[in-house]
Subunit: 215 residues, 2 copies
């Protein structure tokens, strides 16, 4: 019974790793679409969001099946409840990549991001990618130290987010309201992507150490 | 055992109803703070977010305790997993009310919403309040018809959200970029509040009917 549980739990973990890799690829392609007005890249992100949703449903079904068949307790139960939460965060990260891609499509063939904002969005995307990579690693091999690093990455994202607003609010902002609205929403999408990664990371820390990380 | 399970499940349901009432009150007060530059109302929303978070943790603990002690299957198991998801949506709705309140505080004593946008935000807040009321009702007495109404409320919210952008993007928008950024984020907070309510409603429909509602 216990051995069977381990095997099933490993399948759930692998699905979560697959999700983390998929949401990482989605945000990479969405960023490329955004910064290079690459419509094909954007459309592939939008199409492939269904695959991420399907992985999410598979995690849910397997977890519910395991809860029903094996009636786990203690740390096994905690691992399954954590998997449900982490899957929900990853699914949402996929939606946020989809939102970035849709912004690129809406403005195509113009770039949605003007020259003045390319650097800050490139850096936000870099932090997002680092975060997604860490989540995939933490899920393959739970590691409280690595999960805790996500908090620092989130701080870096928040700094970039503030920098974005400083550019938008400078007296010499030349692009008007529409571009500012796009940039505001895009900034929010990257920031929320990081927040969900941190949530997921905290859940993993709690699972490994039994200690809650707070702000 | 079964009778004991019912009693415990009712406690979980009551906690969810308490959460729904708390997030409804939070958004009402946050909206008042926003539209009347009422700093005390805003600060009470921000302080009381901890109560919503505490209710969320209580739901999680009770659900995990029930899973461990009673090893439910079939519809009982589904009810508990649904409770976890609904609680997560409600907790996030509380955060969004908190974000609205924080925007009001940041701009105080100026109003964060200029005269031209008061009507659209008043209507968005009205839809948000109707939605929160329905969620509280659906949770006290599961009702697939009422839950399905949430989709229509969400459409009304999306229409208002589009209307907001039309005002911001009109050639005669007089308030500049900073106010447009605030309004963009505020619009997003109300819209996401509605989205989470719809998610929660769909989970309840699924619980009652076994049928998934899709877009």
């Amino acid at each position: 019974m216990r051995e069977e549980f381990r095997v099933d739990l490993n399948i759930v973990s692998q699905l979560l790793v697959d999700m983390a890799e998929a949401i990482r690829a989605a945000m990479r392609h969405a960023t490329r679409a955004l910064l290079t007005a690459d419509r094909a890249a954007a459309e592939s992100v939008i199409e492939r969001d269904a695959e991420i949703d399907s992985l999410y449903r598979q995690v849910e079904e397997r977890v519910c099946d395991l809860l029903a068949r094996q009636a786990p307790v203690a740390s096994d139960l905690r691992a399954l409840v954590t998997a449900l939460h982490v899957a929900a965060d990853l699914e949402r990260m996929g939606d946020l990549a989809d939102h970035v891609a849709k912004t690129a499509v809406r403005r195509h063939p113009s770039p949605a991001v003007p020259a003045e904002l390319r650097r800050v969005f490139t850096e936000m995307a870099g932090v997002a990618d680092r975060i997604a990579d860490k989540i995939a690693n933490v899920l393959s091999k739970p590691d409280a130290d690595l999960a805790a690093e996500l908090d620092r990455d989130d701080d870096a994202m928040d700094d970039l987010h503030r920098e974005l607003f400083a550019v938008l609010l400078a007296d010499d902002w030349p692009y008007g309201v529409e571009t500012a609205i796009d940039a505001t929403l895009l900034g929010r999408f990257y920031e929320r992507y990081a927040d969900h990664a941190v949530n997921a990371g905290r859940r993993v820390v709690y699972l490994v150490t039994g200690e809650t990380v707070t702000d």
